[in-house]
Homo-oligomer: 335 residues x 2
């Protein structure tokens, strides 16, 4: 019923081995033969059975993308970059979310990944995350996006620099009382937010400005989280005149909080975010732009290279992409 390599072989008058070689573009196949086989395959509307191929070859031809979120801008944008590259390479993309945020108790990714993918792409998993550790223990090529871990290739931006740029921008505008809205806890090691915080501290200290932990809040990288964090800052005794927000989405929330308090971004308090979200321009938000889709593309390509090279986690170390400060109306000289 379903047509197999056997049928193609018979129709083309060759062996299944030759069909296999011809169709996969291997060398050592007479071009005449190859052409004939290809033609027959098309005529018969032959489609290879991935399962059989995988079983026989040991390769799955698919890569797993592990991400804590799907619907958030950063993750969706990275994912779209990854998808483009993988589809182009003829690889299957197995999408797997890890995160109990939506209530479900999810199985750890490692067991779900075993034997079903050739490589893994992990988006913004904290480098010390035990789930990540388990995945790495699987021993397959792995690439990290947004975070760094020794010995594992990946793509990030220079988060320290991003934090420094954003903060320095505020300092340059004359601000001395500068607050921070982070994600969860800036103390976690090696995460993007920690690095961004370090950049903030560097800039402040270089300018001999006080780093006041009372002006540090967390917005959980969500709009509403940012709104709450900003509200907290606004109700603080001596509120900051400027705030470095570690993501645009949180900054959007912060802007909303300001409006609720009758305050105008840029005019009353300066706000600078990170990402250059699609809507940052619309909201006139100053931000440190990062090439999100490119991060996905490049990480995916690096993974394909690892796969071809055969060497797991070899050679390619962590790559840092450039960021760019984009000044808009949400930041202005201190009154």
């Amino acid at each position: 019923m379903t047509i197999t390599i056997r049928d193609v072989a018979d129709a083309a008058g060759v062996s299944t081995a030759t069909v296999s070689r011809a169709l996969r573009g291997l060398a050592n196949v007479d071009e005449q033969t190859r052409a004939r086989v290809q033609q027959v395959a098309v005529d018969l509307d032959y489609v290879i059975s991935p399962s059989a191929s995988r079983l026989a070859s040991g390769r799955t031809g698919s890569i797993g993308v592990v991400t804590p979120y799907i619907a958030r801008w950063f993750f969706a944008t990275v994912l779209s970059g990854v998808e483009g590259v993988l589809q182009n390479a003829g690889m299957d993309l197995l999408l797997m979310s890890v995160s109990s945020a939506d209530g479900h108790l999810r199985l750890p990714p490692a067991p779900r990944l075993r034997r079903r993918v050739d490589a893994v792409l992990a988006i913004s998993l904290p480098p010390d995350d035990p789930q990540l550790t388990e995945v790495l223990a699987l021993g397959m090529p792995t690439s990290l996006i947004g975070t760094q871990r020794a010995g594992v290739p990946g793509v990030t931006i220079d988060d320290v620099q991003a934090g420094r740029m954003a903060t320095q921008h505020l300092i340059n505008l004359g601000h001395t009382s500068i607050g921070v809205i982070g994600g969860y806890q800036v103390d976690a090691l090696h995460t993007a937010e920690h690095d961004r915080y370090r950049g903030y501290v560097q800039a402040m200290q270089t300018a001999n400005l006080p780093v006041d932990r009372n002006r540090e809040t967390y917005g959980y990288f969500t709009v509403t989280g940012g709104e709450q964090a900003m509200t907290q800052l606004l109700t603080h005794p001596n509120r900051p005149t400027a705030v470095f927000v570690m993501s645009d989405e949180m900054a959007f929330g912060a802007i909303r909080a300001m409006r609720a308090h009758g305050l105008t971004p840029g005019k009353d308090i300066s706000i600078v975010g990170v990402d250059n979200h699609d809507l940052a321009e619309l909201l006139d938000l100053s931000t440190v732009a990062q090439p999100v889709a490119d991060m996905g593309r490049i990480a995916a390509e690096s993974l394909l290279v690892q796969l071809r090279t055969g060497a797991a986690n070899s050679g390619l170390e962590s790559l840092q992409l450039p960021t760019q400060l984009i000044v808009r109306g949400s930041t202005a000289p201190v009154a």
Copy 2:
């Protein structure tokens, strides 16, 4: 090296057949035996080979999600709903984007889907799209999200009603000169935008208001597209006093265009969108909310049912989820 069902069978002192039954929870297995087998499997850290299982059973245990976009809010949100359900059901999610928007000439989905998934979930593919037709010709269970096609189960909202609600809201506010920003071409049959347009026309005609095609523009469902469309409307001889925009993202662009012209949403021109995008509230945008993540969840669940029932496209017809008008500051009584 890699441990197989054979190893488990030997260690448990049973045949591979029994191991297979025991581990899959089939009936006709002594519970004592099952328990022992399970224990051995755990001890040996046995993981089934999906390829072998698929080859032998003919089922892939994975479903393909076909979408034109990944990074756009609606699609990413649907996708996250789908992913949650599938992961919960132990199904693999194969993500496949169709769209030449990012430059790549992509292979049609049907050949890429054949023999590698058990079912397909298509997000917002026009019902008359030849690619969709090819996918359906594959004869596997398929579910549509956001569009309807005779004989194919799916989940949508009542787009006619959505268009009517939005428009009627503007009419209720006293507007008589109402423009439209659609996606591509509202003439395409059965697409969401066509239905929304029909709803608009219904409302206008019921109110004895003129439907002026000069006040119909297209924003390609993007922010910048919406901006351009709005700009076009604004530079029109007699501009509308209110605009029904078929998606929030386009509405965001429209708002930006208004600002560029020194106009304020709600005050100078009323704007109502569709979606209730995460940032709609922030931008004070009135909109017709649709339960996007739910659409993904429900469609995925319906697909799982089809898979279990075994009947392709049987029973379950298209399901419509309720929408809700959310009134915010971007719509106000006509001056």
